[in-house]
Symmetry: C2
Subunit: 440 residues, 2 copies
């Protein structure tokens, strides 16, 4: 992995992360006179927007993942490396790998994404899993399905009610999608599966500290989404803050009021924290991270004073049109990846000319979230859609964004099948966490 | 879970295991005047014959698994219980569960299957995983793909050769299928994925102590299979016995000759050992298990002296036509499950008449194994097929045996896609075992 610096060699671009930002940066460097190394801990690009469908048994993990090597197979200037970056040596211009070795770069694109934030309550992590990785999704799937299995076994009505209560914390798109899917799972897919319990009696509670769900959308669409959730019997508790999570209950607070929900399944969709690599970069540069762990970047997406280090996607705090930081969504990361690649090309072409790059400008084509079958909200080019049309748009856009054509067909087939049958066939309890859980 | 014995209640049939034998026993009791409880540790029926395709990245786990509750949803006399049976109380006629409680039965059908046998070398288990569960398959998939990743990273040619050597122990259908699939994975699916290694240079070694692969088949078909393996560059070492496995090598012996193969990936497809529940039953009845851990059953498939305990499938040693025990294959288990159900029905109907049941007779429709694309062997009704026709038969038979119609379509689609593209898209490294493996 060591390489002697050599003027004749092409510029070495090292990209950290094979998510939306990193992958699109690599692809946008196709045919550029650079040597790209894309580093990711996983061997696949994951289409995170559909991860909740894995967690609720609609899709299999491989349906929403594409092996990075396959995706980039034909792009000869890219090398993929499955490894974990732990730190940076900015003086030597190297990234340090967990395995002990290091890798030199001329330009760095840092796109390592984000993880969950428990707002200082890291002890909740084991009690309220978040949804960022395939392992998270299969674990949540096992937890949810096991709760139904354990409810079926117990004779204690209190334990049964507790096992059939599912609490989702966070009313953003992921929380709304999870809550809606849990409702459909219990009311349709699992209906008649059990003999002692009625799965459709499961209680789904969605908690958000703000005053409405989908606060990133127009108020009109938030209201529509709340209506869809209500139709699915999801109990929406906006304005409530989670103050405590234990293995058997969640405590929430609204002003002076406190309430305790008995539950063994809490899913976390509330907070996002940039990859710890942002802290490593902050330490190395003397910059600071914001409350969400992000690094503020210049209008041209690099770290102030470090033109060779681009930070993009969920790790970057980048001012948008109105001065507000851009949201942590896929289109922002994709456009930033493309921008970083373009900037590198421009610099190489105009090395002598000294042209000045135009600042990054996010083109917001819209945003959307789905609540359940035939129920979604979308805001596209200033127009608002809710219901069936929004849902069709959502399906189409998400299908088209999947990286491999085979996966598009597999997902389309399973969606069509599930739509007709109300089924969810990927309902596997795998892993061993609950294998020896004593019954109540 | 406790129930007071009551003459008016229907006969309680408890089935242990939701594999081929247990599931077909339950289904054959449809509309019988019995109350069936099917107990399995997993919440799904697994189609084990295609598990090697999950381990080698062709299919997703959910494609070959069907939730037991869904399969039996409409059969109102069946209750499914996800639990682990640990022992028996034959006097009280109860099965004991790991969770501490117990369940009464009038008739017991024990169909808990088999696990791997390391022939007294249990220390090999961690070094040479076998292929029985979904967790096994995803672990093997991660191990195999990680070996390629690590080979790509290392600069040491010795380590690289070791990482690119894959040893399969056992030349039965599973071993042959695994070896063939590993060859196709390295020679086609992964081709051009790497920059420093050539995946097609991977060495696949298939070891069997006997004098030919597929020894359960006619010699002519074994020879054909060996020819197919040779075409796929699989190095077949029949007549060699494994004497030692370490994390970096396998030692094999042939008469006085010893040889050491440097490898970090050994897959175990050699020995099968009945579920430990056979030992529990042996202890409880004073019977003994055979070398493969199986219980000998009467011609009517129950334990000698215990007409209320049927043992079927891989746990039973049941004499076939020529006096040899029947092989541990799906059709045997299925027919035994159906036979046990029929016998229970007959007994209930003829409780007073005292009719004598005909002994179980296995109808052998044939057997088949696949080596790779367009290459399989089949023996059907005395006719032998090898090559393309056998492969088409194999595809058709396996597709039709999948339990859910949706899975048939999903598998068919993926097979067709993989056939055309030579691809294997379910190539995910999941789980954490190799996450922190130091590089060589």
């Amino acid at each position: 992995m060591t390489r002697v610096a050599n003027q004749a060699e092409p510029t070495r671009v090292v990209i950290l992360g094979g998510g939306f930002g990193g992958l699109h940066a690599a692809q946008s460097l196709r045919n550029a006179p650079v040597q790209v190394t894309l580093i990711d801990r996983a061997n696949y690009h994951l289409f995170q927007p559909l991860l909740y469908q894995v967690a609720t048994g609609s899709l299999s993990p491989a349906n929403i993942a594409a092996p990075l090597r396959s995706v980039l197979r034909r792009q000869k200037n890219v090398t993929v490396l499955q490894a974990e970056v732990t730190d940076f040596d900015l003086d030597a211009k190297r990234v340090l790998l967990r395995e002990g070795d290091s890798l030199p770069y001329d330009v760095l694109i840092v796109a390592a994404g984000a993880t969950h934030s428990y707002f200082g309550h890291n002890e909740w992590e084991g009690l309220a899993p978040g949804l960022k990785t395939i392992e998270d999704a299969t674990q949540i799937r096992a937890d949810v399905l096991s709760a139904f299995e354990r409810a079926e076994r117990t004779d204690d009505p209190v334990a049964r009610a507790r096992l059939l209560t599912f609490v989702v914390v966070g009313g953003g798109p992921t929380g709304v999608e999870l809550a809606g899917a849990l409702s459909e799972l219990s009311r349709h897919a699992l209906k008649n599966d059990f003999r002692r319990i009625e799965s459709e009696s499961a209680r789904i509670v969605l908690i958000d500290a703000g005053d409405r769900v989908l606060s990133g959308f127009a108020e009109e669409l938030s209201a529509k989404a709340a209506g869809f959730l209500d139709r699915l019997d999801v109990s929406v508790r906006t304005g409530w803050l989670v103050t405590e999570i234990t293995p058997t209950e969640v405590t929430i607070r609204h002003g002076e009021q406190t309430e305790t929900l008995a539950t063994e399944t809490v899913l976390w969709a509330a907070g996002v924290l940039a990859s710890p690599l942002a802290n490593r970069l902050a330490d190395a540069t003397g910059l600071t991270v914001d409350r969400a762990g992000r690094l503020a970047v210049t209008p041209t997406l690099h770290l102030p004073g470090h033109e060779d280090i681009f930070v993009i996607g969920d790790m970057a705090s980048c001012a948008g049109e109105a001065g507000r930081p851009l949201p942590g969504v896929a289109p922002v990361a994709i456009q930033q990846g493309q921008y970083a690649a373009k900037t590198i090309r421009r610099r190489l072409a105009a090395a002598a000319a000294g042209s000045i790059a135009k600042p990054f400008r996010y083109r917001d084509y819209g945003s959307m979230a789905t609540v359940g079958r035939s129920a979604a909200v979308a805001s596209i080019g200033g127009y608002h859609f809710a219901g069936y049309v929004a849902w069709l748009i959502w399906l189409f856009v998400h299908l088209m964004q999947l990286v491999s054509f085979q996966n598009r067909l597999l997902v389309l087939f399973q969606w069509a099948w599930n739509y007709v049958t109300h089924g969810r066939s990927a309902r596997l309890i795998t892993g061993n966490r609950h294998a020896e859980t004593p019954a109540e």
